[in-house]
């Protein structure tokens, strides 16, 4: 287990480094950064000045190392637009996105796993078909459309929940549901398939032959084994949700990381965009690493190898 973990950690760190390079290079795609910052009316002198001011005249590798070094100290420079440190901007918006992500993940697991288990246990019956149909439909509805639809139904027509913003816990319900929508089909299918495979295994036959109640067979014996890959998938889906939150935050007007990034892109506020891309990618790398470890830990055959 230890060697497995350290191996995975090494890979994760390598990926993290590569991702940081990509995030850095991303912003230099557009050609001359100095011109973009200076604006369309700038003179050549002004542009040169800006270039020097932001250290854009140094070799690229040096700029990258400098940026990386500062990033490791949580210094992402200042936002062009807000004139405030990027770090403080992130710090304010992060909790919103994290809360949204956490609630969405919980919601998606609470919906998808039982659905998948039911579909497996009643495989071939109408329950299974309905669950799969729900899945297929779910994958076809874009999250932002669902978000808008939810607003119309629950906020406008029924007036049960607020339309937008992040004032209270009620504000998180509709967006979380819309965001959870991303993950439900994948998690449900994995749960269903995992359960189906496990239910046909020999140790389930043994459990039934011992006279155990069906609920015990399914929940204690089957689920425990079927859930292992789902844990890993859930971690990965959380990563996707954080990335996809940009759309939901835009629809529901929530001041989170995604919304910040969206505004920053529109305003060519490069330091902010760089920082957000890096943070989200690093979180994703961390999550996949944790998912691998969890995967190994939950299976006694690997844990005690």
């Amino acid at each position: 287990m230890v060697s497995f973990t350290s191996q995975r950690l090494a890979v994760a760190l390598a990926v993290a480094l590569t991702v940081s390079i990509v995030a850095f290079l991303l912003l230099h795609l557009s050609g001359d950064l100095a011109t973009a910052i200076a604006g369309p009316e700038a003179t050549a002198t002004q542009i040169a000045e800006i270039r020097h001011q932001f250290g854009l005249d140094r070799p690229l590798a040096l700029q990258y190392l400098d940026w990386l070094w500062r990033a490791l100290h949580f210094d992402f420079g200042n936002s062009f637009y807000y004139r405030d440190s990027v770090t403080s901007l992130l710090a304010v918006r992060m909790p919103v996105t994290m809360t949204l992500g956490a609630v969405s993940l919980t919601l998606s697991l609470v919906i998808a796993v039982p659905l998948g288990v039911l579909a497996a246990v009643y495989s071939g019956t109408i329950i299974d078909r309905l669950a799969l149909g729900f899945c297929v439909l779910g994958q076809a509805v874009p999250a932002f459309c669902l978000g808008l639809g939810l607003i119309i139904v629950f906020a406008v027509q029924l007036r049960w929940l607020p339309v937008s913003g992040t004032a209270s816990w009620k504000n998180y319900l509709l967006p979380s549901f819309a965001l959870a929508w991303y993950a439900v089909p994948a998690v449900m299918r994995l749960s269903r398939n995992g359960m189906l495979e496990v239910l046909s295994s020999d140790y389930i036959r043994t459990a039934r032959a011992k006279g155990l109640r069906p609920s015990v067979v399914i929940l204690k014996h089957a689920l425990r084994n079927a859930i292992i890959p789902v844990v890993a998938l859930a971690a990965v889906q959380f990563g996707f949700m954080l990335g996809g939150s940009i759309v939901i935050e835009a629809v529901f007007n929530m001041q989170g990381l995604g919304y910040l990034a969206w505004e920053a892109i529109a305003r060519n506020d490069f330091p902010v965009v760089q920082a957000v891309v890096l943070i989200l990618a690093l979180i994703y790398v961390a999550l996949t690493f944790l998912a691998d470890v969890a995967n190994a830990f939950l299976d006694p055959r690997i844990r005690l190898a």
């Binding site: 808008l148 269903r192 835009a250």
Partner: protein, 308 residues
Amino acid sequence: MTSATSTGIDVTADALPDVALAPPRQPSGILWRSLSHGGLVVGGILLLAIVALALAAPLIAPHDPYNQDLARRLIPPVWQVKGSWEHILGTDKLGRDYLSRLMYGARISLMIGTLTVLISGTIGTVIGVCAGYFGGRVDAVLSYVVTTRLALPVVLVALASAALVGSSLHGVIVVLGLLLWDRFAVVTRSATQQIARTDYVDAARAIGCSTLRILLSEILPNILNALIVVATLEMAHAILLEAALSFLGLGVQPPLPSWGLMISEGKQYMFFSPWVIGIPAAALVALVLAINLVGDGLRDVTAPENRG
């Protein structure tokens, strides 16, 4: 004499969806299975209908989708009180006919879906086949590249890239094509690994076939099944992503009738005229649903062990 059955818990097996390859099957078998697969038939018909409408748009669209008529703004669809048959699906905030825009929007979505998949499919297949066939260090490096790509938040990177490259129809296609190849790579790698181990590939190598020849004539035809299934699913993915990008203002630019753009333009009217966003949303759902049904159906029909 009585009969009894065991409890409701089903103990029959159903394989996990790992990529598996279909053994060579008779064409007639596939055709028959396709026609009896409900999802595939429904999806196929729906998809063909949408494609037909899109292709025929210049001929049968009732109005010019770009023609603004501010005197006729926000007319509701024909089934509502103030609707009229002249604009069956109503008009948008600039008086443009919604039905026409919808049909032209289909052209955009389909074009984006197809071209993106062509680009990402090529990139992903090359990476996947090389990783699967050559194995060893090549595989390690390429898998690493795929892992790195997976770590990037796609929506964000797509947005940023689109903004930098310039938001436009072609910009979106290029950006998405360069980003969405991961699933192709993973699936083709897996499929190639399975084929590369077979006897007939060994035989081809033994008689001195060049690597390129083997890749093109032995490997590629046999991974085609899996490739087509992934292509349909990624097409749906690309269409949804473009809709999201356009909705956020960084994809296709006005006045093009992208469905995502139509939704974002209609957002401010959604409280009083929900159909302004409802209609393009329904079109999106219909197209993506049709493509997904076809993709799932193809997978079920060519390799039922992948079901789920």
